[in-house]
């Protein structure tokens, strides 16, 4: 397994995205290029991106449609393969892993929250929450499970199946599943995209408190400035490149940057 590059490389370019030392990054992309198709019709989704997502922080990734923000997340999470460059989760170089090792990494060190298709319909809420653990043959830590469940106020819903839950409840189950294994980093892809405002705010509140209370690292792709305002940093992606990074965002500051992108 190759070692991480010199942290100064990262610092030089996007120092502000990283609070403190680069060794604290929960996930990182180095010289990441993702190209779809070949020759004339090739589309470059990621164009030589180098970025670290700091540990114990809540990072939002924003950008217009087709900017490459989702691709960036998928590559960082080992769901998709880079054309060139490298992706790290902690100190692990993803490009050096085969499918089985990647799978194991996903279930042991990464949590996922998607916009839809978040739950297995045939399993109860509790089984869904514990799924990554059961898949790797582990038993959930009872204390952690209790805490996550009470944090997300799912106590009375544990034996229901997804079809018997509301959209907000389903998404809470998905968040619980992502958190319960205490992964190195949680990737959330538009987690509030399908929810009404209240449920969305709830979900974001839970993510926020997971970062504040348990120093959970979270990377969230979103196009909603109000959602991004819950994060510690916001990374703006345009045309496959990192365009800007702001710290301690507010909805207004995010909108200001976006206005700048629009033209």
């Amino acid at each position: 397994m190759s070692s991480r590059p010199d942290s100064t490389v990262v610092d030089r370019q996007y120092g502000s995205a990283l609070s403190g030392n680069a060794d604290d990054a929960a996930a990182m992309l180095v010289g990441a290029v993702k190209r779809y198709g070949f020759g004339q019709s090739a589309v470059v989704a990621l164009d030589d991106v180098t970025i670290g997502f700091p540990a114990g922080k809540f990072t939002a990734v924003m950008g217009p449609s087709g900017s490459g923000k989702s691709t960036m997340m998928h590559c960082a999470a080992g769901l998709d393969q880079l054309t060139s460059g490298r992706a790290f989760v902690g100190n692990t170089d993803l490009s050096a892993l085969d499918d089985r090792e990647l799978t194991r990494l996903r279930r042991e060190r990464i949590g996922f929250v998607f916009q839809a298709f978040n739950l297995v319909a045939t399993l109860t809420a509790e089984e869904n929450i514990c799924l990554p653990l059961t898949l790797s043959g582990r038993r959930p830590n009872a204390a952690v499970l209790d805490e996550v469940v009470s944090l997300l106020r799912l106590g009375d819903r544990m034996h229901h199946r997804p079809t018997e839950l509301s959209g907000g409840q389903q998404q809470r189950v998905a968040v619980a599943r992502a958190l319960v294994a205490q992964p190195q980093v949680v990737f959330a892809d538009e987690p509030t995209g399908n929810l009404d405002t209240r449920s969305g705010q709830e979900i974001l509140g839970f993510l926020r408190s997971a970062v504040d209370r348990h120093h959970q690292s979270i990377v969230m792709v979103t196009h909603d400035p109000n959602a991004a305002a819950w994060a510690d940093h916001v990374v703006f992606v345009v045309d496959g490149r990192v365009h800007d990074v702001i710290d301690h965002p507010s909805a207004d500051s995010v909108i200001d940057v976006m206005k700048g992108l629009g033209r």
Binding site: T103, R106, F112, A116, T122, E127, L131
Partner: protein, 839 residues
Amino acid sequence: MRSAARSVLASRGRFVLTGAAITLSVAFLVATLVLSDSMRGRAAGDIAEALAGTDAVVQGVVLGEPGGGPGDPERSVRRSLDSDITERVATVDGVDGAASQWVGFAKLVVDGSSVGTGTASDVGRNWVADPALNPFRLARGRPPAEVGEIVIDRSLAGDAGLAPGDVVQVLTTTGIHDATITGVATFASADAAPLQRTVLLPDGAVSAWLDTAAPTEVLVDVAEGADRAEVLDRLSELTEAEVIDGPDHIRTMQDVATSPLQFLTVFLLAFAVVAVLIGVTIIFNTFALTVARRRRESALLRAIGAERRQLLGGVVIEAALVGTIATLVGLVCGVAGVGALRWLVGLAGITLLTGPTIVSTTSIAVAATVGIGATILSAWIPARRAAATPPIEALRESAAEARVVSPARTASGLVLAAVAIAGGAVAVLRSSAAWVVLVVAIVPALVLCGPAIVTAAARGSARVARRVAGVGGSIAAGNLAASPRRSASTALALMLGTAMVTMFGIFATSLTSAVGTDVRDGLQADLVVTSATADFPTIDPTLAGRIAALPEVDAVAALSIAEGIVAGKAEAIGGIDPTALPTLFDLDPIAGDLADLSEGGVAVVGDDPTLLGGTLAIEFEGSTLEAPIVAVVARSTGGFEAPLYFVDRATLDASVGRLLDALLFVNLADGAVAADEDVRALVRATPGSFFETRTEHVANSGSEIAAFRNFIDGMLLLAGFIALLGVANTTALAINERSGELGLLRAVGATRRELRRIVRLEVALLSFVAASIGIAVAFGFGWALIDVTGGAEIPSVVVPWSRLAVTLVVAVAAGVVAAAWPAFRVSRVPVLELAGRDR
């Protein structure tokens, strides 16, 4: 039209599978129809041609109709004609020519061994001199003139490599005769008469060799210009005999010749129907899923103004396209595959399979209609259901099928199931076959209850699956319940397949056992001598005496069999030596004394001792025997043609004339060393007789059924293969539908192997449920059917437990094999594509 074609092309894999199911069922159907046409057509054509010159036939009055059971004679038994009948017929006004036709048993023997095995029977006839009346035509040589000269049919000549001038022997009811071949004949233009091997004898030899005092029938040539109806009337006034018009006679002969094929055709068609049914289930599933997947797209089209009919039209055209292409391929494969089917049927020992293939337009039309019609119909039903949904609802709703099983559906299924079970119970209790019909209701009952059964099975097995296979087990069990209707219709195909296997298994085992039980329990002799065929005794009657004369032979008892009519039905009547037989074969008398047979009594096989003391009338061709019932025995001598009535051998000889022996039972003296070899040598030197030790005889009784079982197994393999195509197809479709969920599983850390395992588990579970139900239903159905209709041939139901267990294991294993391909495919797709496919 073009969009339909494009959508077919776009989902090639799915439609190749569906198409394959249709193609296979159509091919099977058309091959069955063509084969049965060819067999029947060939036989019918030959008979019509051979009998074309015969204007009328005079035959004896019918005494009894064939029994219809597995061991009963196939033809009706008739009263003998007078010996001077032909001369009298010839003198009738308007008759141009009359020829005696003598028919009996004659088997060709070359170098000490008889020629020809299989289902064809060995027939001896006289050579009819009048070429207009003779069904045979000389191909080579000259007609037989002197006693000791014979003509054989071309098929026999070919099989045994014989030519005019060769010296052979002929085994008839009067023993073995030396003969010289003078010619080779054809039946019309065919090598042989349908399902017969014929030896043609000169008029001078026929009465003595075939042991009949009078001709079997008189062939009549009506003079040209004479009124045929009047001539027929005059003929019927002549004597107490039946006069049959030429065309009617041809039809009867055609029916007789093709009746063994009829049975086969019914079997083949039953399989074809099952194949089509399975095919339809597969198509139905495919289109139901296709339509469901396109629901949103359809809803969008509806929202922007497409009419319901336009949407339906698209699906129907798509189905028609797939159905037509698959059917055309199926027709071609079916016609080409007739040869394969012939081979398969040949496993059952049926040899009348030569001759040209007759592809009638009817066969093609029937198969094509079934193929295309079934496809369109099974596409139309789900399409209509989808088109009936209001557009907005369809847009909002997810594409997945409702998980809820309609209680009304289940309830009506349960009612039907109750009817079926009650019908079976009443049938068994009252032994009345009419009630068995109700049992058929179990099929629609299963169709209706299917979803509920699958849901219940999934729920019930969830805990076990979880314990055995972890969370993958829960998911697999849950997936079954997630789409109960689809799971149920997939299961139905498998259920039908296993039910067929089980039914035939129980039937064959019970029959084999029935045939074998008597032999197993009753046989006490050390050695047994058997006839060349099960249908006809062929053992030289002097053999018993010669074996008895050997040193170290303790006792010999012979069994002869004649056909007689009891209560209007043709039955086998056994002639035994009542003092010698009991030590060699225990008939297990439960009332009376077998020894009383020697005073002219009769013994009845049955389990009712009160029959004792009654009187039984047996009509033979030339006489009637009325005898008191002096014994009731629990078992017969075993084998297919086992007699149900026994008389003293002398009584039987007196009634029907001299007979060949059907079986000889031989006991060796205690401490005999080489005696069995001596008997073996003697038997080998006697044509028409075969040597078996006790063990061999027990093992061989029922071997006729074993050949039949090979054939059944071949057919089942085919039906099973089609059912498995269905499993593969439905599983692949279901996986497609669940791609989002599978992608999620991959994302949160399920390995490819775990995904494959889930798919396999799901199919294994479904196969297990389907096979269990199929076996259970067939078990009950078969039990009731055999119990009620089995009669004396199958007195008790014997369950082939090991075979059922094997069926279950094979069904589950085959299901898993069928799921391997979709499982492999799903595990190869990259994670993101799965997760993103439906978004």
